[in-house]
Amino acid sequence: MSDAAIRVHNLYRYFGQLKAVNGISFEIPHGSVCGFVGANGAGKTTTMRILASLDYPTMGVAEICGINVVHHPEEVRRLIGWMPDHFGNYDHMTVLEYLDFYARAFGYDGKERRTRVQEVMEFTDLIPLADRFSNKLSKGMTQRLCLGRSLLHDPQVLIMDEPAAGLDPKARVELKHLIRVLAQEGKTIFISSHILSELGEMCDSLLFVNNGRIVHHGDSDSLKHGTDAGGGVLYDVQVVGDPQAVSDWCVINPHVEFLESRKQGGRIRIDTTAPEKAAETLARMVKDGLKVVEFHKEQRNLEDAFIDMLGRLDRGESAQPEVARPSGPSFSPPPVNN
């Protein structure tokens, strides 16, 4: 069995001329929470559907806990809980009956089934809604019901496609709380969302995908603190006096680049992540007579970081993915398909 809970290697999925997934590779270790970020049509849902064994790749390997999703879909389905971005509910069926149906469908019977349903309802706080018809629930309640359904068979890996879409703030907080609890229990969670700030708070790592390719894989801090694709760190500097002095100083100092002017200073880039270098730069500024009143790492939110990254890509600059290169021989030729 592989060390990774999810392993994707050179995955491609074409729909005719459309390259929905275009050669992506990544690994997610057991027990971690990984956010999957990208614009609409970037290939997130397709990748997730392949991992959930609901679609198949044109080429490449996708594994859950070391099991190939194409070769052994039945085994993979026992390991994953799938929460789609949208799904329908049934008429004339209560919340309790809905979960009971899926518990039966997952193969539970008798006491075990009833116990399992009760536990999931308690966990997702659905007990007060037990007798409500499942198609009469609010969006937040529906998402809790969907999460409950995906947890019925106690999966090791949860794949959640846009679970927070359309939720009000209270429901989002509740969902985030549930995901945190699940993460603490050691479940691997692969989650896509447009609400990046929330992903940043709950995820151990973030995967950014654009046009079917991974453009960044790392923790949220690396983006928030302004680490750029070239490995540099961005800082905000403010001085008393002439703000132009900062840009003038940068011109004559190596390893430091002036990026843009701001009120009473500017935005600079130091071409290494080593904190000693930052301290050394600050010391030199002071030594050279700059009256520095503020010098700190740039704190960007994830949305800004993502937009920056997309901008760089649009300009043709590289945004090298920090992808753990998996080893292994597998390479699937395209399935015959019409």
Partner: protein, 494 residues
């Protein structure tokens, strides 16, 4: 909100809340059946049908008692009324309730949620069918007391009427299976309009049948007093079961994940049945038209399905074949899911059917019969042959195929109408439409305008042309299968 969700191994029964509410259906029942029954029995349609049936039967029964000249007349009236209301309920309303049942699941993304459980596509379809049929069975049970009451009026063929009631119920089950089977197709014309049109026809035909002398004929056939009637009823039951099974197979294969193989068992079953018929017929030499009927009932659904499967061959499907070595690889060419292998399977099936009809019957078929048979084959092959040129652009082959067939039918009816209105020597224009195999049926009905031998030859030519087109396109597509097989072989080695 409570914390922590434990693993499912919890021996103690939870508090009464869940236990009390979830004990309404046995664990032994299929989850799908439980779900459908819970939903179905709450649905207003069923409750309305059930109560209306009871109310109408009671009311009309009382009215018949007062209005009839003698107890026997009243008895006959009551039989007609019982059969009419029951048939309308189970042959018209119940199948209509299944319209779009799978499509709604597909649209709501719930099919995907279900296939991720241990439910197979077949179980999902079967559950939906059984739930409707179980409700029809409740209607059947509700009618029985009235039939017992009718017995006391005398002059009743008890066995015949009971068997007829059972046959109506079976017909309802078959009709429901067909509607459930096609309910997942994207085309609303196929999944909705066709059943509705059929139901509308039934709405007028059923009352006419129940109060006509044909009703007595049906009761007489159902009483199976002659061996011909007996075998007729048996053939109806068996062919009905096969058609129902096949129709539900269409539904299952449409909703199944690509990694589920629904084709091979169906194709193997059809080939095995034909092989059995061949062996039996070689010794028993039954009537040629019985054999022809059997071959058509078995062969047509199998060919239609084989020619319309999408090509999505995945390793889990190849692997069982490859484990059997060269024999498995050769068998795969005929039995893998997908229309290219379906073409080879069709060729095999047609060969087997030809052997049955040539060597198995008590007499030879006439040239008229042969024209009809080749025209049927041409009708089945033509839409598939045309679609094989642009199959990558067709999202759902089966829907297009059925639409092609319906178009053929409409065009042929128009041509037949025009030809009928013309003098016999001016009907030759139909040759221009001989590329539409269904026109051979029309031409075959006009022996004075068309030479039967010539007609047969042309119909063979049309079927062969479409068969060749399909065969060439299938061979081209089958080459790609080798790549998937190679991947599987590599995987098997590791």
């Amino acid at each position: 909100m409570s914390e922590a969700i434990a693993t499912p191994v919890v021996p103690d029964e939870p508090s009464g809340f869940v236990t009390d509410k979830l004990s309404d259906f046995s664990d032994k029942l299929s989850p799908m059946l439980v779900k459908e029954l819970r939903q179905g029995l709450r649905a207003k349609t069923f409750v309305i049908v059930f109560l209306t049936l009871q109310g109408l039967l009671g009311l009309v029964l009382l009215a018949s008692l007062g209005g009839a000249g003698s107890p026997q007349d009243a008895g006959h009236n009551i039989s007609g009324i019982i059969f009419m209301f029951f048939s309308l309920a189970v042959l018209v309303i119940q199948p209509i309730r299944s319209i779009g049942t799978l499509h709604r699941e597909v649209q709501g993304n719930t099919i995907e949620l279900m296939v991720l459980t241990r439910l197979s596509a077949w179980k999902i379809v079967l559950g939906k069918w059984i739930a409707i049929v179980a409700q029809s069975a409740l209607l059947l049970a509700a009618v029985i007391p009235y039939l017992i009451l009718r017995y006391w009026f005398g002059d009743m063929n008890l066995f015949g009427e009971l068997v007829l009631l059972a046959l109506v119920f079976l017909s309802s089950a078959i009709a429901t299976a067909i509607v459930v089977g096609i309910s997942c197709l994207p085309s609303v014309i196929i999944r909705g309009l066709l059943p509705l049109i059929t139901a509308a026809i039934g709405l007028f035909a059923i009352p006419a049948l129940c109060f006509d002398h044909e009703f007595e004929d049906l009761v007489s056939i159902a009483s199976m007093q002659s061996s011909q009637d007996f075998w007729g009823v048996i053939a109806f039951v068996l062919s009905g079961c096969y058609v129902g099974w096949t129709a539900m197979g269409i539904g299952a294969s449409q909703i199944a994940p690509a990694a589920e193989n629904h084709s091979t068992p169906k194709r193997l079953a059809c080939l095995a049945l034909l092989a059995l018929i061949l062996i039996v017929s070689l010794f028993a030499k039954p009537g040629i038209y019985y054999l022809l009927g059997l071959v058509l009932v078995l062969g047509i659904p199998a060919i239609v399905m084989a020619l319309n499967e999408p090509i999505a061959l995945l390793p889990p499907i190849c692997t069982p074949f490859l484990k059997k070595g060269t024999a498995g690889i050769i068998a795969g060419r005929f039995l893998y899911p997908g229309w290219p292998s379906g073409v080879l399977f069709t060729a095999l099936l047609v060969g087997l059917a030809s052997l049955i009809l040539i060597f198995g019957g008590d007499s030879a078929l006439t040239s008229d019969d042969l024209t009809v048979i080749t025209a049927i084959l041409g009708c089945l092959l033509m839409p598939a042959a045309l679609m094989s040129f642009f199959d990558k652009k067709i999202s759902n082959r089966f829907t297009f195929y059925l639409l092609f067939i319906v178009s053929q039918l409409v065009l042929t009816m128009v041509l037949a109408y025009i030809a009928d209105a013309l003098p016999e020597d001016q009907r030759g224009f139909l040759w221009l439409f001989s590329w539409i195999p269904m026109t051979f049926f029309t031409m075959n009905e006009m022996p004075r305008s068309f030479d039967p031998a010539q007609l047969w030859l042309v119909s063979i030519g049309a079927a062969l042309t479409y068969g060749s087109i399909l065969f060439i396109n299938a061979i081209i597509r089958l080459r790609a299968i080798r790549e998937v097989e190679n991947e599987c072989l590599e995987h098997l080695k590791t």
